[in-house]
């Protein structure tokens, strides 16, 4: 074997190493993006439940609706504490947040919103609730998109064979009902 064969092999190995290192870099960036997106979603969920609680205790809702929203919001807040990497905790939280969405949907119809908006301080609360709910939807959507991209990359043969993802846990999409009450969506 002459020397240029060795050179060719060395170059190929070098290129392959560069490819592996760059792919590891991509994975690292994706995992960071997922972490940030999870933090953002967490912040907006907390914001939503605390505004919902504020609305429920403001005395602007009818008493029955107030209790339904207050309970759901409180449950969502309680469910937020815990290790978010734990599958069971994630599921419990997703259920609590979905329940809050449903409670808001059941309580805040067109009439109710008109009434709250009419009271002093009511319009701000409604706007804030709508804004935080919209941001929950957006950040969950963006998080799941990052998860999809990451899973796609981690499924590649090279990534698996060379364990490029290291010990990072397998990314999980967040599934919950974050729909907005229709009357709230139209502003």
């Amino acid at each position: 074997m002459s020397w240029w064969w060795l050179l060719l092999v060395a170059v190929l190995i070098g290129l392959f190493g560069l490819y592996l290192s760059m792919t590891a870099g991509r994975l690292d960036a994706l995992h960071k993006r997922i972490d940030t997106s999870e933090l953002a979603l967490d912040a907006h969920l907390l914001r939503r439940s605390s505004v919902a609680l504020e609305l429920a205790t403001s005395g602007l809702l009818d008493p029955a609706g107030a209790i339904v929203v207050a309970e759901a919001a409180h449950a969502a807040r309680t469910a937020a504490d815990g290790d978010h990497r734990d599958a069971e905790h994630r599921q419990i939280r997703a259920q609590a947040e979905s329940a809050l969405s449903q409670a808001l949907d059941a309580t805040l119809d067109e009439e109710e919103i008109q009434q709250v908006r009419g009271a002093p301080g009511g319009a701000e609360l409604i706007d804030e609730l709508a804004a935080s709910a919209r941001r929950v939807q957006l950040s969950r959507r963006f998080l799941n998109d990052a998860v999809r991209a990451c899973v796609q990359l981690r499924d590649q043969r090279m990534v698996r064979a060379f364990r490029l993802a290291g010990t990072s846990p397998w990314p999980q999409a967040v599934e919950l009902d974050d729909s907005l009450p229709p009357a709230l969506a139209t502003g």
């Binding site: 760059m22 960036a29 993006r33 963006f142 990052a146």
Partner: protein, 398 residues
């Protein structure tokens, strides 16, 4: 809460264009909301640059995405992008057309942190995937959130490149178009806007319909505004029809606004290729009655015919009937115009910007900043790793 926002425009700032005006309108609206905005764009003439625009380097004319675009790339552009990111200290960087081989792609490559992108046009699968699949993929993965300006742009993104996007339509500065003449004071004129030789703009459909229209309304005049050689088109038009048409060539933005405020009817006979139809919104904002072909984008903008009259695409007879029906019935025309004005409000930048701000907020956490990504450079990778290792060791000692 005021934010520092960096916007990246891939096309030359001095050349009028859809993406360029989108970026400048967005910048102005964000500034009105109290945010600090800086735009990075290729610049030809530095003299008349507003202080909130940063020169990203001299643009070069290159064939790109079906036409000639003026883009900036190369060593100098990369250096400017990196300096802009370092000095900008941005809370969010919003990149337009992230895969355009210009400042946009360079920014995707050189920045990390809260990055958001807006996809304006459709890209060919072949171009994106074969030319630089790995580069495109790496750049796209850094985008924390994507916006598409139309359903078509969104579908292209999902189908060809992969990834989800939120639909936020283009904004229009409705105030720039607000009419001063009411319907009854308007000239009995028909307006066509767009490149006259471009078949997809559908001028030939309108011309074929004119004999039928002029037969009923002989005093109607037609204004055709847009670049292109009218000699070619005129030689096939019969004399008595040609007399009714005035070709006025390319018009400025301001002249376009005036025209839309003066005429009674704006016709959009497009045969396809439109993903949104911003001119329709502008016409509605200006108080002109819109008559448009029933391509999906126009149906959507015109609320299936409630905010403007639709006709069968590519059918001169249907176009003629639609135009005659709005010219003949004053009450119906005014109803369309009123509905159109309300519809246009929904596309006002002041409304649209709220949705953009929601996206900004949904991708960042407290204290998040856009920083330079050194991993994009071969040497930087090692520098980054060394610095990281050093920092960790020092942290361990303390």
């Amino acid at each position: 809460m005021s934010m520092r926002v960096g916007l990246v425009c891939p096309y030359a700032w001095d050349v009028p264009g859809g993406v360029r005006s989108h970026v400048s309108d967005l910048a102005l609206t964000l500034q009105l909301r109290g945010h600090e905005v800086n735009v990075l764009a290729p610049v030809e003439e530095e003299e008349e640059l507003p202080e909130w625009v940063t020169d990203g380097g001299r643009p070069v004319a290159v064939p790109y995405n079906g036409s000639v675009a003026r883009l900036s790339f190369g060593v100098q552009a990369t250096r400017r992008v990196r300096a802009w990111i370092r000095e900008g200290d941005f809370d969010i960087v919003h990149i337009h057309e992230p895969l355009a081989p210009s400042l946009s792609l360079l920014t995707c490559w050189s920045a990390r942190g809260p990055l958001v992108a807006t996809w304006h046009s459709s890209h060919d699968r072949s171009r994106v995937l074969t030319a630089g699949y790995y580069i495109a993929q790496t750049a796209m993965e850094k985008l924390r959130g994507s916006i598409a300006v139309s359903e078509e742009a969104r579908r292209t993104l999902i189908g060809h490149v992969g990834g989800d996007a939120v639909l936020i339509p283009n904004g229009v500065r409705v105030k720039d178009f607000t009419p001063d003449a009411h319907d009854r004071q308007r000239r009995r004129e028909l307006l066509f806007l767009g490149r006259i030789e471009e078949p997809r703009k559908g001028l030939s459909v309108l011309i074929d319909a004119l004999p039928m229209i002029l037969n009923q309304v002989p005093d109607l005049s037609v204004i055709v505004a847009g670049p292109g050689d009218d000699e070619d088109i005129r030689k096939d038009i019969p004399e008595h029809i040609d007399r009714a048409i005035t070709f006025i060539g390319t018009v400025s933005d301001q002249r376009k606004q005036e025209l839309l405020r003066e005429v009674q009817v704006y016709v959009a006979p497009h045969t396809g290729g439109e993903s949104f139809g911003i001119v329709l919104v502008e016409a509605m904002a200006a108080g002109a009655c819109v008559v448009a072909s029933d391509i999906p984008a126009f149906q959507q903008v015109l609320e299936n015919g409630k905010a403007g009259r639709l006709f069968t695409t590519n059918d001169p007879r249907s176009l003629a009937e639609a135009v005659l029906s709005v010219l003949a019935d004053d009450a119906a025309r005014r109803a369309l115009v009123d509905r159109g004005a309300t519809r246009a409000e929904q596309y006002d930048w002041d409304t649209v910007v709220d949705e953009v701000l929601d996206v900004y907020d949904s991708v960042r956490v407290q204290g998040d900043k856009v920083t330079e990504d050194l991993r994009g450079q071969a040497l930087g990778r090692f520098a980054h790793r060394a610095a990281f290792g050093l920092g960790r060791r020092q942290g361990g000692v303390e």
